[in-house]
Symmetry: C2
């Protein structure tokens, strides 16, 4: 379908009255114990993730698959990831949360892997290596590559808030991403953590039309209302992972995930 990522996102936001992205971070020590009996860890992870997807798809505008947890599965990780990806319905967007950032040649291989072979709609990228680490991803039409700008983790402030010519580094990163995306067929988005609302306001004011992927609502502590007030005027995907997927560790995990996802949708509004 020859439609831009932002257009799909806008249509889904309207259709589902939601900006919720459900993050799939399947930690073997946290997934319900009953799934782990009589199956391999990989198949338990697949069953866990597909159940979460089925239970939340009416409110999830997107799913973000965290590559770390699949790579930790070893040789069977990539096929498990592919199975989970295939379970995401056409009516939700898919995000490869891989935080890639490598030189042009390697970046092209990563981009091919994620956008062509796997067929994700979107990926997360790290900006430290600059333009030629980002543009191989931006060159894919109808995708959105979300570049880390201001992240929600405690170490996010270590470098991202450093002042360069009177502006924090994350603003310089966002400016470059906007500039590079203008020359490409795909869209450039920004990862903006929910734990620093001041930076989020600064970014939204400077980049009113950039798609924001916002982690850090829920377990990491950002408030839904503050986040929507700060960034909701533009395209947003607000990610919640652990608060939804680990809402229960019992046999009712999918039902509870659905309830928490619906509650989060209501808290967020759209």
């Amino acid at each position: 379908m020859n439609v831009s990522f932002s257009s799909k996102l806008a249509a889904l936001r309207l259709k589902k009255s939601s900006v919720l992205c459900v993050g799939l971070d399947p930690d073997p020590s946290k997934i319900p114990v009953h799934l782990l009996t009589d199956s391999t860890l990989s198949s338990a992870v697949v069953r866990f993730c597909t159940s979460i997807i089925e239970a939340t798809e009416t409110v999830a505008v997107a799913y973000k698959i965290n590559f770390a947890f699949f790579e930790a599965l070893g040789d069977s990780g990539m096929s498990a990831l592919r199975e989970v990806l295939q379970a995401i319905p056409e009516t939700s967007l898919s995000i490869a949360d891989a935080k890639r950032g490598d030189i042009g040649n390697s970046a092209s291989f990563y981009a091919q892997s994620v956008y062509e072979d796997l067929g994700f709609d979107s990926i997360t990228l790290s900006p430290y290596m600059g333009k030629d680490s980002i543009t191989p991803f931006l060159s894919f039409a109808n995708t959105c590559s979300f570049v880390l700008a201001r992240t929600s983790n405690p170490g996010g402030a270590d470098f991202q808030n450093m002042m360069v010519d009177g502006k924090p580094l994350y603003i310089h990163v966002a400016s470059k991403v906007e500039q590079w995306a203008r020359e490409c067929q795909g869209e450039g988005g920004l990862v903006v953590g929910a734990t620093d609302i001041e930076s989020m306001v600064h970014l939204r004011t400077s980049f009113p039309k950039a798609p924001f992927l916002i982690p850090g609502v829920g377990s990491q502590g950002g408030s839904a209302k503050d986040v929507m007030d700060a960034a909701g005027s533009g395209p947003v995907l607000i990610n919640s992972s652990r608060a939804i997927i680990y809402a229960s560790s019992g046999p009712d995990f999918a039902k509870r995930a659905s309830e928490v996802a619906h509650q989060t949708q209501q808290d967020l509004g759209s």
Copy 2:
């Protein structure tokens, strides 16, 4: 073996009179055509890489496996990577060139995957997300986590050279890595591109004992002598990938790789 990465590196440098790291970047469009007949792409990649390892191990102090090229192989990529890793002899160090950089929880999974499950000696990391994205790797004893400081690609200058409080960003990154590593069991190293000798001198002067992983000699254009003059007084691994592994695309590829590796070793000195 309970020996630090730096100690192993120093012993190997002495034993092999070499600081050469051979980079394994198996691009399907460049590996010898005769390997691609009657086998799958993954098995051809494994055969190519293991042949290169056998042909160069007397001069290669380390091998750097570029994850991008294995991920691009799809489902069989991880087992191919594991086979190549197992072909690296005890007398060479292994580096997972994965440029990871994610929040604490995900970082722990990546660290477990690379250091425990796969058993690499070392990894490359991206610093943008700060302390809690790096320390889960630094906590593994007898390993060295190389953090991107000043990279050799054209976009390396986009952010890394930005001035913060009178110093370039890459110096701030290096200072933080040194500080974080002091609190951990593993070592922190720096990725320093061979294409910017001035930055390399600045970094070596500031961090005389930090292990440097130096890509960009050979195809990317840095001169061997300049690099050794700038950084060779401390622990170094100087990586060459394409100039060695693609020295020939014919049936003599391994022999030619060996010749170029030996020539590179001689150019570098030790």
